[in-house]
């Protein structure tokens, strides 16, 4: 398969979008679903074919750049529609199309009864296309195009059921909050171009190394601005509050946002521009701190939620926090590895949750589910696999290998520290606790809601595929203590350098035992608390209330930003600048009225006026 077909990868879903959008009224539901699923399916096959060729006979220089045409070429500025295939973009486009395909297939089941299914698949295809442009872009401005496109699609899909204003609010919140970050990213782009004279990523990184090695201030500012963009898209502190509300969209949308697209974009951006972050060690350290804080805060919030999708949302935030932690300590490929495994098990979790939600007639409260092992075996077992992978159940799940790598490098890498490791370790315990709390409460115990609809093959096939991958995808990269498979890092090494790790094998083994213990202890505690004895829905009050509301960030932003803005906009609605002009008009009018009263038609007044005027005139002549 020729590398020249690379631009087709994003163009296929884009064509699917155009077909669905323009033919919306004329397509049957079935054909809309077929178009939507097959465009992504072909794109996925194409990525696999191109990827195989890439692995078998890599292109010269380790990357293939395909330019489709000029975009902006003016006055010394140049940005083209150029796509870059290298190991990093290959891994990402595989995740996007492959996981994306299963989610699309699943959507054919989930959305089958929705009358706007053509619109749904149109947006989904556009989402995948935008994400592919983002990961394949060779130019930072083209990346920005995909970046904004992803934001738009998330807005459209979160607010897909537009009749409920709450969904519209959640959609706008997602778009506006991420746009705060996007704007910082754009400013960063302006800074990079004005200082380094290019927006080509490879050129930028070379010039940054050459020009900023001795001047960390500019590098820090640029890295900080890109980080702000990444924080917005990836729902990290302090721009994280849009993600839990983004659950308003249909469940496959959540799967797409959380697993294959959107939130991983920030991780990708930092990995792609890692040279810049290496030039700004303070900012890189900040990335790790943000990751550590987010993974803990989100983990604690997840422990006290009652809505199945909100738990998964906080879980995503927390897992992306792990990726940021890895990026921050320079474990670039470990971050991408976790992104890779997380895509499978998080998609699996969302899709099996979706089966439950549909079966229970859109019930999302875990305390009103119960006893799903016999009633929905497919959902039960696939959710169990996903939960085990998320909880990093040792040895048999993919999540174990990726999380273990991050934990180890958070300590052992050059920029790592015991504190970072400790945050990740506590997070691992909390992760196992909240996901098995969810599992025991929702899937076992007494039945509380009757089953309405059981899944069809379009729903089951994705569960099987993703379930298997959630177990085996980790075997491409195993620690030295367990045989030392290094396929994944070897693939990425030309793009993402490895951190320096100098520690004896025994220390590594000890840390691994500790992280295994955290995972198992979390599961055990969940079993003790939520399986062993009857469970009550959580009561309000105390610190858990605080956690449930996401640590009060929403309230703070509401009070500090949203409310003042709304008030100002309301207050200024009648344009302050109208007033001076109104005064002027009023003055003219009263002058007119004053003069008009003298013109009253009475001869006496006129005679008096003439007499007075003559007197004044005489006086002036005589006195002058």
């Amino acid at each position: 398969m020729s590398f020249h077909l690379l631009p087709l990868v994003p163009l296929l879903p884009l064509a699917g979008f155009l077909w669905l959008a323009l033919g919306a009224g004329r397509l049957t539901r079935r054909s809309a679903a077929r178009i939507g699923v097959s465009s992504v399916a072909i794109a996925a096959l194409l990525v696999i074919a191109i990827g195989t060729r890439f692995l078998v006979e890599p292109p010269d220089a380790g990357a293939h750049v395909q330019t489709l045409g000029a975009w902006l070429r003016v006055a010394g500025f140049q940005a083209d529609f150029a796509f870059r295939l290298d190991p990093l973009s290959l891994v990402l486009s595989f995740v996007v199309t492959f996981v994306g395909f299963w989610i699309h297939l699943y959507s054919a089941f989930y959305m089958a009864e929705d009358e706007a299914i053509a619109r749904f698949f149109a947006y989904m295809n556009l989402f995948v296309a935008a994400m592919l442009i983002l990961v394949l872009a060779d130019d930072l401005l083209l990346l920005y195009l995909g970046w904004e496109g992803v934001g738009l699609c998330s807005y459209l899909l979160i607010g897909f059921w537009y009749r409920d204003p709450a969904n519209g609010y959640a959609a706008r919140k997602a778009f506006v909050m991420t746009r705060v970050g996007d704007t910082a990213f754009l400013i960063g782009l302006l800074l990079l171009f004005s200082q380094l004279g290019s927006t080509r990523i490879t050129e930028l990184m070379e010039r940054a190394t050459a020009m900023w090695a001795s001047e960390p201030t500019l590098a820090s500012v640029a890295a900080l601005l890109l980080l702000a963009g990444a924080v917005g898209k990836s729902a990290q502190l302090p721009l994280q509050t849009w993600l839990p509300d983004a659950m308003a969209g249909p469940t496959p949308v959540s799967a797409l946002i959380h697993a294959a697209t959107m939130v991983t974009a920030g991780v990708y951006l930092i990995a792609r521009t890692h040279v810049l972050f290496e030039l700004a060690p303070a900012v890189q350290n900040l990335v790790a701190v943000i990751g550590a804080l987010t993974l803990l805060l989100a983990g604690f919030s997840a422990v006290v939620q009652t809505d199945i999708k909100r738990i998964l949302a906080y879980s995503t935030m927390s897992q992306i926090g792990y990726m940021f932690l890895a990026l921050g300590v320079g474990a670039w490929s470990a971050a991408i590895f976790h992104l890779f495994t997380h895509a499978f098990f998080k998609a699996l979790l969302f899709l099996s949750a979706g089966v439950v939600i549909v079966a229970l007639h859109h019930e999302q409260n875990i305390f009103r589910m119960g006893d799903l092992r016999r009633r929905l075996p497919a959902a039960f077992w696939s959710f169990l696999v996903g939960a085990a992978a998320l909880a990093a159940l040792p040895l048999v799940t993919a999540g174990f290998y990726s999380k273990d790598l991050i934990l180890w490098q958070a300590y052992a890498a050059e920029n790592g520290s015991l504190w970072f490791w400790l945050a990740g370790w506590v997070g691992a315990f909390v992760t196992a606790l909240y996901i098995f709390r969810l599992f025991f409460i929702a899937f076992t115990g007494e039945p509380k809601t009757p089953i309405r609809r059981t899944p069809e093959w379009t729903a089951l096939a994705p569960l099987w595929a993703l379930g298997i991958l959630s177990l085996v995808a980790g075997f491409v990269e195993m620690p030295a203590t367990l045989g030392g498979v290094t396929l994944f890092r070897a693939l990425l090494e030309p793009v993402l350098p490895l951190p320096d790790v100098h520690a004896p094998l025994t220390v590594e083994a000890m840390f691994q035992l500790l992280s295994m213990a955290a995972s198992l202890a979390g599961i055990a505690l969940a079993w003790l608390l939520y399986r062993h004895r009857p469970v009550m829905a959580p009561t309000s009050g105390g610190i858990t209330e605080y956690w449930r509301e996401g640590w009060g960030f929403d309230l703070a932003y509401e009070r500090l930003v949203v409310h003042p803005t709304v008030c100002t906009a309301h207050w200024a609605r009648h344009d302050l600048f109208e007033r001076p002009y109104d005064r002027l008009a009023g003055l003219a009018r009263s002058l007119h009225r004053g003069l008009a009263t003298t013109q009253n038609g009475r001869v006496r007044w006129y005679a008096g006026g003439i007499a007075a005027g003559s007197a004044v005139a005489f006086a002036l002549v005589l006195l002058a």
Partner: protein
């Protein structure tokens, strides 16, 4: 003769449209449509010829037409077209045609309506082509009177008030411009002994290279500046705009937002900076700050509106702030961005006004609180509304982003602080654009009866605008190539005069 056509044809068609009313109420719009199509065809034909050797003229001017008018006062009938003027003429022709299409169902005195519409177009074409300042002033006034009638006769509930306000603001600024033009001519006469209103001769006199802000040249520059920024408009000279745009009939709103605002920007680029470079550069920080204030203040006002049309009107204030920022940054990137921004804003805002007009025609209200849930009732209208709202918030891939990005990129070297502040407008744009979509199209359907969706005529017009916006967003190179030489010429003139001001040749 090619240039004269742009002024003469609409005037002739205007008279014909009025007269043809006697033959039937359908005739005026037929005449107007034919004239609009011919003008657009002619403009496109000229655009296709650029780059070939079919053009004569000096330097970067493709076409020129010069005749005496009042030779005793140095006033000539001087029209000329460079790339910048050509793009503005193209935009005018396209939106003029759109305006005709959106006025298809004018019932009341259609002959006089299209008479005024076509006269306005003639004036705007003339303004973009005139290179004699007296002629420029004449045409500037000529485009305002018919616009006054369009608002006052065919407008909505507060049309008298809005029309009068529009007329007073523009007349006051027009008077200021006249005074400035005469003062400029007299100053040049005192220096060179020749009384002239010709653009090239006034440039040659180069009085602007010496004058600082507080000299004769500075005061004249400020006069021009205020006259043009009232039109643009820029805070604090904008209060005429929301009323005029809101109360005007749809076709007039399309013309006002789409092209009349651009005459202000065009005047700044063509006259203010090249004629008074020293004073302009000194004044630039103030002007750029005013632009940034306009971006943020316009967006803030848009967020607070309940009237859909007024909301769209205030977004113009915000978008034109970017143009102002770019003009006084005066870098090549910023100016190219300003040209793209003008075109993209014309397309997107013109389309939004057509959509609002279509809604008002159907619902008889512009109140956002009464709308809602229209997506299920009029899906095509709602989808296009979403498209143009998204264009207006600056999504990459559509025209407005190209303009705004290049403006920010080009303004950065001049003032990073102002550029960053201006970029905050992008966040505000997301808020107002999405609020508009939410309140009009999403949510539960309101109590209003379900209206019919867009018809074929409206779909054709709006799709043309949508495709043009995508074209500008993905492949703006033809615009850059057309505007490039003209902008370089203007920048060279400014550089030359600035070098003279420093007392030496460059």
């Amino acid at each position: 003769m090619s240039l004269l056509l742009f002024v003469a044809l609409p005037v002739a068609a205007a008279v014909l449209a009025w007269l043809s009313e006697r033959r039937g109420p359908d005739w005026p719009r037929r005449v107007a449509l034919t004239a609009g199509a011919l003008l657009l065809g002619h403009a496109l034909y000229l655009w296709a010829l650029t780059g070939t050797d079919r053009f004569i003229g000096q330097g970067d001017w493709f076409l020129e037409l010069q005749a005496d008018w009042f030779p005793r006062f140095g006033i000539g009938f001087h029209l000329a077209m460079d790339g910048l003027a050509l793009l503005m003429v193209l935009l005018t022709a396209l939106l003029g045609l759109m305006a005709v299409v959106s006025a298809w169902h004018v019932r009341e005195r259609p002959g006089f309506f299209f008479f005024n519409l076509l006269l306005t177009l003639a004036g705007v074409f003339g303004v973009f082509l005139a290179l004699d300042l007296f002629l420029f002033f004449f045409l500037w006034e000529a485009m305002l009177v018919p616009m006054y009638f369009l608002i006052a006769v065919w407008g909505y509930e507060r049309r008298r008030y809005a029309a009068l306000k529009f007329f007073l603001f523009t007349q006051a600024s027009g008077l200021l411009m006249l005074v400035s033009i005469i003062a400029l001519a007299l100053v040049v006469q005192r220096e060179t002994g020749v009384l002239t209103f010709d653009y090239f001769r006034l440039l040659e006199a180069a009085i602007g290279s010496r004058g600082t802000l507080f000299s004769a040249a500075g005061w004249i520059m400020l006069g021009f500046f205020v006259a043009f920024t009232v039109k643009l408009p820029i805070v604090p000279f904008h209060p005429w705009l929301p009323d005029a745009h809101t109360q005007a009939p749809t076709a007039a709103s399309v013309l006002l937002a789409g092209i009349l605002l651009k005459t202000g920007a065009y005047g700044l680029i063509r006259f203010v900076v090249p004629l008074f470079p020293a004073a302009s550069m000194e004044f630039a920080p103030v002007a750029m700050s005013l632009g940034v204030v306009g971006i943020l203040y316009g967006a803030l006002l848009a967020i607070g509106q309940r009237d859909l049309k007024r909301l769209v009107a205030y977004t113009s204030v915000s978008h034109m702030g970017f143009v102002m920022l770019a003009i006084f940054a005066w870098t090549e990137l910023a100016l190219q961005g300003a040209v793209v921004q003008m075109i993209a804003h014309g397309l997107s805002t013109g389309a939004l006004f057509m959509l609002v007009g279509a809604l008002q025609e159907r619902l008889h209200t512009r109140d956002l609180n009464a709308m809602g849930g229209l997506w299920s009732q009029v899906p095509r209208l709602a989808a296009l509304g979403l498209f143009f709202a998204v264009a207006s918030l600056g999504l990459p891939g559509l025209g407005n982003f190209v303009g705004e990005f290049l403006i920010l990129l080009g303004s950065w070297p001049v003032s990073a602080g102002l550029t960053v502040t201006a970029a905050l407008g992008l966040i505000a744009a997301a808020v107002y654009a999405l609020l508009m979509v939410q309140r009009a199209f999403h949510g539960e359907p309101g109590s209003l009866p379900s209206p019919p969706d867009l018809g074929r005529r409206e779909m054709t017009a709006l799709s043309t605008l949508a495709i043009s916006l995508i074209g500008v967003g993905l492949y703006p190179s033809p615009l850059f190539e057309t505007a490039g030489p003209a902008l370089t010429w203007l920048r060279d003139i400014v550089d030359l005069q600035m070098a003279l001001a420093r007392g030496g040749w460059p």
